[in-house]
Symmetry: C2
Subunit: 334 residues, 2 copies
Amino acid sequence: DDKGELITRIKAVEACLATTSDVPCNIKFVIEGEEETGSAHIEEYLKKYKKKFSNDGVIWEFGYVDAKNRPIIGLGMKGLLFVELSVKESIRDAHSSLAVLIKNPAWRLIETVKTLRDSDGKILIKDWYKEVLPFSKKDLELIEKEPFDQNVFKKEFGIQSFVGNKKNLDAKKALVGDATCNIAGFVSGYTGDGAKTVLPGEALVKIDFRLIPKMDPKKQVIRLKKHLKSHGFNDVKIKIFHGEAAARTDSSHPFVSQVKNAADKAFGKSILNVSNAGTGPMYPFVDILKSPCISIGSTYMFSRIHSPNEFARVDLLNKTTKCICLIMENFGKN
Amino acid sequence: DDKGELITRIKAVEACLATTSDVPCNIKFVIEGEEETGSAHIEEYLKKYKKKFSNDGVIWEFGYVDAKNRPIIGLGMKGLLFVELSVKESIRDAHSSLAVLIKNPAWRLIETVKTLRDSDGKILIKDWYKEVLPFSKKDLELIEKEPFDQNVFKKEFGIQSFVGNKKNLDAKKALVGDATCNIAGFVSGYTGDGAKTVLPGEALVKIDFRLIPKMDPKKQVIRLKKHLKSHGFNDVKIKIFHGEAAARTDSSHPFVSQVKNAADKAFGKSILNVSNAGTGPMYPFVDILKSPCISIGSTYMFSRIHSPNEFARVDLLNKTTKCICLIMENFGKN
């Protein structure tokens, strides 16, 4: 995804070439198409071509614009661990009259996942939060400054209250810094219309864990496996789809103010965001290339991403393109 | 289903007509095609044509033959209550990064269903078992006599142990007399291959409750609704698909020994079963027509009913047809 942002980067370069026959600074593009499936190869690739991709600052493939048309400049991305848990009880589906004797894998899987988190969203896996650091004073200041209209948000999704009944500042802190354990999919038995008295042979749940800085996906997998074992769920199969660590760029890095200045000019006003709630493979750029990584983009925050009728706004595509031009211009001068 | 049994009834009548140009007793057929969706109209129909269908004994549309080729003569059927519970949290699916704030309906539904039964299969809804009577001495004797090879059963389904770790006699008692709460289907979010980071807007579970004698489906629905309310699940929607009461014919009824004699002749040996584990609309026949209802049939017990590669055995179809002829003959003499 994020094709909109990619276009603004390309159009900005095209605009420079068209008007000055050159670009104001060296530009390198990294375009990969695996973000939605975990960017499994980007780390290996960046390691291999480390020198080729050396740089002084990365403009990230991502970026939100809020309901008041202010771009949210992202300084970080969360990590992700995507797993599938499954239980196979019998070799085939059975008539549900046999539920008196044959165990139902859906019940078993429900028992399993119920142990993973409490209803307020706290993950109950041992040592899950062990390495996590609290927000710095500076991060907290930025979070407090961030605008967030909880009523607009709730109205957009048609919801009454937030997880754990969070409000205002706590909701903002959660978006920046909370880890999650989310059921992305659960399926077992007959899922069509009406009734069918079936005793399913298998049940399957897909879970995505959002990770925050200092959480190592490899370590978290081990902790999840230990959790299942220590709770007696030896019959639950686990399949790991991908793991990605979180990354953040320090808000005091000079590149941050350069990007902010350009965004303020192009959009009128912009907002610094310590970390987006979503995930991208920012970690290898920050870790391997040692680059500041900053998102600035054109995606309207209620554009229904990942759901039916997703859309892009042309006005925001234009403004983001202008902003990228300004960033390149400033960058060339410094 | 049960097309195999239906054919044996028709073929038996054909055989009588072909050899004697008549049938040895009055025969009435009730053929309906709604059994798999709860036989919603049979009760109304039998009430309307009560006189037309008056009879001295009903041969039921159903019947098992065990692994040793012994027909199991069924004197009862369990009832069924099929419901759908659903939770809609937000008006559309969202990107799962928002799971820090937007509640996931799958978690909510899991919380809900977890309160319905314990891991040994006992239903935790208040007063669910209130009207249920214990087995009579006679019923217990019949249950003890019934052959049941738990190892063959386990091998057939590839399972290690039974619900509640039941063994032998307890497993047999469960097949005859246990109520169940079974997840026939559970679905939420992305259920395809691989990973998709989605926060589903809805979650849905289909549950079939097998009912035992004295459980009134209408009363049980009220109890289920009360359960949801008293546990704070006012956001959980409930849809009732159908309810059917259990029915049993007393094993001391003279019609029982008539059928058993015929089955012993046709198959060599037969077994009396207090109640099948499955459901059929036997209740209105026993309740409205006041008839003894007895199953005798041709379905091999491991014929994979309701699952892929279901099959019927020709030898059992022939024997059952012969058995029906003998029942008609005996019935005409008495």
